[in-house]
Symmetry: C2
Subunit: 345 residues, 2 copies
């Protein structure tokens, strides 16, 4: 089933997910409606690429969190690269590509206010604007440069090392002169982090001796820990954190579904460490940073990605209908690289 | 029993305290030894004032934390205002007053490297250098100005509001244009915070409706929370924290003895809040900040204190022999103001 010029396929939410459960295909239904027509000042966007990302899990809960949850009957949210198919807005010409948040559907109307960026003419790989040059890459850059503030010779550690954010932030930290230690699930990902991304080490969190191997990989402790994971991975990192460690927090994927907790109250111990070891822990939602920093990020990172100096690995899926399974795989670590779904040419 | 010119009374540690217990008088014994004589480049310091502070509790544990624990047979640590009684060091003259860490004793030798600051000639109230112009005042100033970074119109909240740090930081935040809400134990302290220190509100944490009264006192939420307390007080503050709240952590007094925990794992919830609400949580140990900031602090705050613009409340004790009881009272909230102990004229 592929894209049509007259029908808009879209995934709408039919039921929320319990906070401690993983989403199933029954969360959404796909429906077909006519392609809408742009009104005054509007453009019609046609989806070419859809991004699948961990933050989507939070928005399937019934309760609002840092962003409103998706409500029943609403189209599922998602970042897209889209083509302008029709335009009543002088800022956008037919044929131009934009990065927007059209959601899990073929078509959407926009007045331009929700368009993040217009892709430059001749953009080498449009899907990069959903990964290395989009939200995950920007997350990596912002967390490292504005919160982590690395110094040469420090040790940088990231979980989900070959994921959309991990692969970029590790390479950026390496360029800043850090020792870079990744954590990933399985030998294949770990080998890739070291051999292809240039990490100094990468430790498999499924290994029975994970904690001791991580300690061995960080002989001088950890100065910056990019928290994306939470749970058992964080528990192994915490004792290795050095005085004045910085911990940007952009995601706690293993907490999204509430799994893996043993009932012990770890807060007093954590806060004691924050105090005694002078940690700086800073949460951020990358959407806040776009106005101030996205332009600077693109200017710095685009040449690295286009020249191939920065390696980018995508986990490619095909067909809008495969979005639910793709998200489920992502949430359980089944992806290998940034997950992007090709919706149409 | 008062100070002698020939005998040095000192409290040495005879047993450590269990992490979940409060210290008893049996922790120390007082012994009398001859007053030592200064060697080359040394000065002999005579203790006039001894400061009692919450950090002392941590150093009674057997295990080292952010600073080494006091070992058995060692003199108990403590900040002092001392008089130079004899000097072989050209930088110090007999009769000068200094702020140092002589510990719980009458006399100590120093080569000057452990002297924090020489009091200015004619210093109005020497004991202020243990409180508003010493470590607690400096802690307040550093936490507020360098970590909290207040903006006019924001709401600032501090626990232990009439304590050594709380009274200063609240008045400083007020001067920055914040709404200032204190938390203290008992009506007398709360009234003092509002009527004498000029706080906008102060809520009694012993009140059965503490959480709802705190919420009512913070109609626009809390932007900066000075964490000194931990436990149930922090639990009531956490839901009131606004987006982009800043949480300097300088002490967790109620956790020092491990009390008040209900077994629930509060870490995932706390970290989710850090992420979703973009908190900045930063631990600091004030001793790190002296080289860079203590001079600036004195320059800014001394005129406020000396002019009476900033109110300073001391909880005065008398006699070195009363130090153990004074510390015990401090750790259970029995003090009302900065605890300073007069050792001698």
């Amino acid at each position: 089933m592929s894209q049509s010029a007259t029908t808009n396929r879209r995934f709408v939410l039919v039921q929320h997910t319990q906070p401690d459960a993983e989403p199933t295909p029954a969360v959404w239904k796909m429906e077909s409606v006519p392609v809408p027509k742009p009104g005054p000042n509007q453009v019609l966007l046609r989806t070419l690429w859809l991004s699948l990302d961990p933050y989507m899990r939070v928005r399937l809960n019934e309760a609002d969190a840092y962003m409103p949850s998706v409500k029943k009957g609403e189209v599922m949210v998602g970042g897209t690269v889209s083509r302008v198919e029709a335009s009543n807005n002088p800022a956008y010409k037919v044929g131009e590509l934009v990065h927007s948040y059209a959601g899990w559907q073929d078509y959407v109307l926009s007045d331009g206010s929700d368009i993040i960026v217009k892709l430059p003419e001749g953009a080498k790989v449009p899907s990069w604007y959903l990964g290395s040059l989009g939200m995950p890459g920007f997350t990596a850059w912002h967390a490292l440069m504005n919160i982590g503030k690395p110094k040469a010779g420090e040790t940088f550690c990231v979980g989900a090392a070959t994921g959309a954010v991990g692969q970029i932030i590790g390479q950026l930290a390496k360029a800043q002169g850090c020792r870079v230690v990744g954590i990933a699930g399985g030998k294949r990902k770990c080998d890739y982090a070291v051999q292809e991304l240039g990490f100094d080490a990468c430790v498999d969190h499924r290994d029975k001796e994970f904690a001791s191997k991580l300690a061995a990989a960080c002989p001088k402790g950890i100065d910056i820990y990019m928290e994306q994971v939470g749970g058992a991975v964080s528990d192994a990192v915490e004792p290795l954190l050095n005085l004045f460690a910085r911990i940007p927090i952009c995601g706690l994927i293993s907490h999204y579904s509430g799994a893996g907790l043993d009932g012990r109250d770890r807060l007093p111990g954590f806060l004691s460490n924050v105090l005694f070891k002078r940690f700086k822990v800073e949460g951020f939602i990358i959407f806040d940073a776009y106005p101030q920093y996205y332009g600077q990020f693109l200017k710095e990172v685009t040449p690295l990605v286009e020249s191939g100096k920065m390696r980018v690995r995508e986990h490619l899926l095909d067909g809008l209908e495969n979005a639910p399974q793709g998200l489920a795989d992502l949430l359980t670590g089944g992806n290998f690289g940034k997950v992007v779904l090709k919706v149409a040419e």
